[in-house]
Symmetry: C2
Subunit: 102 residues, 2 copies
């Protein structure tokens, strides 16, 4: 069963500074996580339900199964990425593991 | 620029009833939306940040560009899907449009 880490970033105070770090530093850290099959980054542009644009970015990291995700996050590269997340994620940002349905 | 509709469902009171409707009724409605390139459904299984497991499901509907998404949601099939979302989505569920980065 394929799984993904879903990362929801809330709105940063300094959007340009956040993007610069996210794209220039954080992305390359994600790329190095062992066992990562692929990842997708997206920027929220609208909230069609009429609610608040709570999140600024959505990132999803795909792994073949829960064990691969766990090993990837526990690796040195995974820990470096998690540390960088802690450093840049605006308050209220969240992280979930989700089982992908075929 | 590829875009996706990101749908975050909060925890349903009746998980079995929700899943039955979501998989048996809602999914087939999504399948019929014109212009939809693909969609992915995932069930949240953990919150590794130690926070609340706020969401129960994450669905993502992919379109080739913002115009295709808009047309798909405005179509009869899109409106039927939106109506069904209103009927089944637990309070606090959200919907965002996100620009997918290559």
């Amino acid at each position: 069963m394929s799984v993904k880490l879903v990362v929801l970033y809330t709105q940063p105070g300094d959007v340009a500074g956040f993007d610069e770090h996210y794209l220039g530093v954080h992305g390359p850290l994600v790329d190095k996580i062992p066992g990562l099959e692929r990842w997708e980054s997206a920027r929220v542009v609208a909230a069609p339900d009429g609610g608040e644009q709570t999140y600024y970015r959505v990132a999803e990291l795909y792994f073949s199964d829960p064990a691969a995700l766990e090993a990837g996050l526990a690796s040195e590269e995974g820990q470096a990425t998690a540390g960088d997340f802690q450093a840049i994620a605006p308050p209220g940002s969240r992280m979930f593991v989700a089982a992908v349905e075929d």
